[in-house]
Symmetry: C2
Subunit: 273 residues, 2 copies
Amino acid sequence: MDRIGLSYEERIGNSSNSASARLFSIMSEKETNLAFSCDVADYTELLGLAELLGPEIAVLKTHADIVEGFTSEVGLRLMAIARKHGFLIFEDRKFADIGNTSVMQYAQGSLRISSWSNFVSMNVLSGPGQLEGIGSVMRRADDGNPRGILILAQMSSEKNLASGEYTRKAVEFGHANQDVVSGYIGNGSNPLELNMLSKMSLPGDVIMAPGVKMGGRADAMGQNYSSPDGAILAGADCIIVGRGIYEAEKPELAAVSYRKAAWKAYLKRIGSG
Amino acid sequence: MDRIGLSYEERIGNSSNSASARLFSIMSEKETNLAFSCDVADYTELLGLAELLGPEIAVLKTHADIVEGFTSEVGLRLMAIARKHGFLIFEDRKFADIGNTSVMQYAQGSLRISSWSNFVSMNVLSGPGQLEGIGSVMRRADDGNPRGILILAQMSSEKNLASGEYTRKAVEFGHANQDVVSGYIGNGSNPLELNMLSKMSLPGDVIMAPGVKMGGRADAMGQNYSSPDGAILAGADCIIVGRGIYEAEKPELAAVSYRKAAWKAYLKRIGSG
């Protein structure tokens, strides 16, 4: 059966990656398929928002490198909050180097991303070397945390080149490394394109989609948007919302609205709505 | 005239970007076209190698995020060493996000890359938004440091997807933003492919090439290599050497060997050899 008609609960058993299996389980139990992109510049604000919005979300997406004072210790505090509220952490690093370098960027340095993140993103412009390199670090980890890679299969920014042959290769490389690949980042701003990715993906693959905003259009730097409903019905399992929440007057109310809209769309998609 | 036959000195006036103009001037005066990729994990070792190899190199390439304890203060110390020895700093960040996020990754966080780097790299998978975003930060900078973007037009890792239409778009986006684009990263491991990039580039564009090693082959994670001579004759202006230098028993001697080989190839290329 097509992945799109299956419930998250049914798909837990389809995942051969620990992080996607855990995510399907969280989404199913907690009834939320919202990923919150917390792009704030101050680490106390980041921890505060994680605590505030933790009950509403399945995933907290970070850009640790834009946060003043972020170290691996802050990452571990974030992980404690994630455990308490039952969400996973996605460091959206968009690794883009050769395998040897990306492994160091994942496991070394002041951020030590490997120690506190569940998901990390990468594009596959450099080929499958990063999947093999970071994948082998993930396989060796023995702390019980689920870990997986989200491959940028599509993007939502204007004139982007992540389509066609690039997308096909992204999925091909992903399917060749299923134990460490959780799934794909798709183009939430274009339901037609997103649906093509969904059709290429397996039931165990998680598709997350940025470019989703209620009543939103493009920003000044070429980022496009569509609705939560459009993205979920096209095949996104998890919508990624950032500015729509943290720039709202009351982020907790905005998070509830996005959560409800995305969950309702999911129920409609699997025929329970 | 084809860029390949012109001297670095002649090309200073062809550059509409401050960092590429400065680099042509440094290479010409200092008689070195060597970029050293200093991928060490400790910041005191990084500063020590910068001091030791400073006299031999035109560019020091960093991955600040793999270095334990690297902060913007360390970056400023590195910049002081760079001024003393007359080289430029290239943070090889490979920005790969949408414009809005990349701007924050460039100018914010504990690394504050914008404050101590001359060159930064990016791929153009997300479209031209990053060029516009980071470019506008560069245009606003008023500290007198030359700044410019090196676009990943090609890569040297196995099964990479940075070729064909991707490469054409990379150069097209670059030429539309010449004041902030210093040039391109080409595939040093494949002289034929590198030469195609050279032919698409303008005399003011700097081409840097990784994947260069004396007597080198592939590493365990799919990174390929060719000789300094091959890369320079095909159109690279600057060879990027990492492990070939810092893994050598005496890095200073290895740097001298690479410097001499690359400079000799350059003199041959412009007909002075």
